[in-house]
Structure formats: structure tokens, C-alpha cells
Amino acid sequence: MADEPRRIITADASKLGVGQNIGFVEKLIHESAAAKQILKSDNPEARAFQEKAIMHLDEARAAEKQGNAEAVAKALNKAKLAIFMGMRLVGGKVVKDKKQENYNKKRHSLESLLAAHKRIRKENESGQDSRDAEVETHTQKRMQEAQAYYDKGELIKAGDVLNNAYLSLKLSLVKLRDGKTLVRSLHFETREDEYRYELRRNDTHNMLINTVLKKKREDPRLGKLMDIPLKEADKLRTEAEQQAGSENYEAAIKTLEESTKHIIRAIRMAGIFIPG
């Protein structure tokens, strides 16, 4: 399996646009971020690989002049492998940065999931299970352990320990919540909240007009017809915003509902029935 992919490059090298490839490889050797990193690195070994790659690149160019496609492919492949070796020698920093980034992202997520676990366990009056609490202390311990590795710069260990902590927490969360259906009922604390919801609902319908139905609106006849309810909708929306400005949310909600109804009318005019 591992050797399979190489067949593509050797067997089909002529098909793969070798001429173009010389240009690409040249960029990689001379101008890429990696090439610059090698030059900056003062790593004599990496520099030696870069020189070697340049040498093979010259061979490839020479072979191209002679029209020997097979030799071009061979030399080019050597150039690639050489520059890859050089690149690997200076890749340490990007690998480290990446591992740190992954670790920090995961840790942040884990904290939020741990908080959710704690909350759900407390809410769970029926079957209090002491094992659930243990999962939390276990997770916390593991997170501290991971952080200790991270601080020592042992990033692979840190990542593994953190991942294990995540997996056991996930298992426990799945056990607590599997098979459940929770309803986010539409309930507004204040009239202002409901007004904000209506505002969003109005935006949504406006957006359907401006995106999905844009083409329909450009039709002169239909466009004119649709304009009538849409103008009314705009007017009502402005009115609602003024009502909300003077904190008359009750009225603002009613006005917005009316505005949205007009937009829905326009959508239906375009031949599409959507539930209101």
C-alpha cells in the first residue's frame, strides 16, 4: 500500500506536465516559506540539502533541453526529495506551534464540557450516581496532569493526556444525555426580548427576498407587484423601530408581526408558499 502512490509519479511522470513542475519545484526550493526558513535557520545540514536540490534541478533542466522526459522526471524527483529532507529539518517550530494551538483549543472546549457535566449531574435528581462525580474529579486531575506536561514542553504527552480526559468525559456525558429530547420553548422573559425575536424573524424574511428571490424581483412585472407589500413592510418596520425607541414594545411587536406578514405575502406572490 505505502509504495502504491509512488507509482503515479514514476509511471505517469510524462503525463504530469513535467515542464510546469520544474517551475513549481524551483519556487519551492528558492522562494517558498520553507526555503526562506532554511536560509534563516543556520542549519548547515538543511542548507546542504537545499544545495543538493538545486543541483538536481539543474540536471532536470539540462535533461529537458535534451528532450529526455524520463531523465527530467528522475532528476526532478531527486530534487523534490532533497528539498523535502531539508524542510523537515527546519519544520520543528511549525510543528510545535500547531501542537500548542490544538492543545489550547481542546482545553478550552473541555472546560465548557466539564461545566456542562457538573450542571447536568446536579440537575439529575432521580438517579444520583457517585461515579458521575468521580468522572469530574478524574477529568480535572487529568487536565492538571496535561498542563504540567504542557508547561514542561512535552506537547505530545500533554495532548494525549488531555485527549484521554476528553474521551472519558464524553463517555459520561453521552451516558447522562443519550435518548433524551429537550425542548427549547419559545418563552420571552421581557417584552423587549420578544421584540428582538420579532426583529430577527423580520430580518430572516427580508433576507429570503434579497437573496433567494432576488432574480424574481428583477422581473419588471412581478417585481412591481411584490414591491407593494414590501414597501408596506418597510414602512411598518420603521414604525416598529420608533415604537421600540420609546419603549413601547407591546405595540412594536404587533407592528413587526404585521410587517413580516407583508413580506410573507410578497414571497407567496413569487409563487412560493411558506408557512407564516
Partner: protein, 195 residues
């Protein structure tokens, strides 16, 4: 298969049948300067060839080594938007077997069957967010809490935001089925949802 899946499946099949019928119309019209639908291209008739897709460089020799979407999609169940593939069914039927871990092909997803129903005002059907269909593809950390706080109701959202690529729209609109497939999210008619 539960009732919902049956409903959706039958609807999707119906859509595909309809689309196929329209496709036949276009095929028959080939060579006719006045086909019934001139600019309207049904999904099955779309030109998906890589060399014509306006992003691939047709002069790249390696292009012929790449797979054509049409070939790859042929055995998969259809849908009405996005890739025109119902990825949920493709996975459930075992037609694709994506590895859950790129280093260990034997690892399997640990999925969670938690549904969050989000009530919507008016007669628009409610949204049911199924964790199960997501956790077979994704880790909890993909969503929590960079996209959603793991707390019911803590993430107010609107369709407008979703259509602009926020919240559910992070994926539904660029990789997972797009927002135009309203019915796949707004699954709960009001009659049965009220409790």
C-alpha cells in the same frame, strides 16, 4: 428507520423522481433550439466535469487522475441541494464508510442521541437538532463551545444569521446540506410538537 426517516425518504425519492422526469425533458430536447426549459438545468444534467468547473485549470495534466464527482456520486442516494447527495442516508446505508480516525481505521464514532427541539413562532415547523446525526461525523469539541455553548437555550439564533454562515450556517451552507433544504431542519409540525 423511524417514521420521520420514512417520511423524509419518501419525500426525497419523490424529489429525485421529479428531477429525473425533468431531466428526461432536457435530454429529449437536445438539438432542439426551443427546448421547454432553456436555462433551467436539473441537478442530474448539471455539468460537473472538473475541466469545466471554472476552478480547475483544464491544462493541468494531473487532472485526468482526479475523480469526477459524477462517477463518485452515482451509487449514492440523492438530495435536492448542496452536493445533491443525502449524506445522512449514504452513511446509514453503509454506502460510504468514512474513517473516524485517520491513524486508526478500526476506531468507531461514539454517537449521542440527544435531540434539542427549538420552537419557532407562527406556523413554521419547529427545528429539531439531532446530536446523533452530527456526532457520527463530528467531535463534541467541534461545536462546544466555539460555535454553541453546551446549555439548552444559551445560543439564541435566527435564520438570518444562519444564512450568513453563523451558528448552524457554519456547516450548513458550505459543506453539510445547505439552508435551502428547509424541511430537513424544520421537521416538527406544530400539531405534534406541542406538549
Amino acid at each position: 428507520m423511524n417514521k420521520r426517516q420514512i417520511t423524509i425518504t419518501s419525500l426525497t425519492l419523490f424529489a429525485v423522481a421529479l428531477t429525473a422526469l425533468m431531466g428526461v425533458g432536457v435530454v429529449n430536447a437536445a438539438g432542439n433550439p426551443n427546448p421547454f426549459n432553456r436555462l433551467f438545468v436539473p441537478p442530474k444534467e448539471r455539468d460537473t466535469a472538473l475541466k469545466n468547473d471554472k476552478i480547475h485549470d483544464p491544462s493541468v495534466p494531473g487532472l485526468k487522475l482526479l475523480q469526477q464527482p459524477k462517477e463518485a456520486f452515482a451509487p449514492l442516494p440523492g438530495s435536492i441541494g448542496g452536493n445533491y447527495i443525502n449524506w445522512v442516508q449514504a452513511l446509514n446505508k453503509g454506502l460510504i464508510k468514512p474513517h473516524f480516525d485517520h491513524l486508526d481505521a478500526s476506531k468507531e464514532a461514539l454517537s449521542m442521541d440527544l435531540v434539542i427541539v427549538m420552537e419557532v413562532k407562527g406556523s413554521m415547523p419547529n427545528v429539531a437538532f439531532p446530536h446523533k446525526e452530527h456526532t457520527v461525523w463530528l467531535e463534541c469539541t467541534n461545536c462546544h463551545d466555539s460555535i454553541f455553548k453546551p446549555l439548552k437555550g444559551a445560543n439564541p439564533m435566527s435564520m438570518a444569521e444562519i444564512m450568513l454562515g453563523q451558528k448552524c450556517g457554519v456547516c450548513h451552507g458550505s459543506v453539510a446540506f445547505p439552508v435551502t433544504e428547509c424541511r430537513r431542519c424544520h421537521t416538527e409540525s406544530k400539531k405534534t410538537a406541542k406538549k
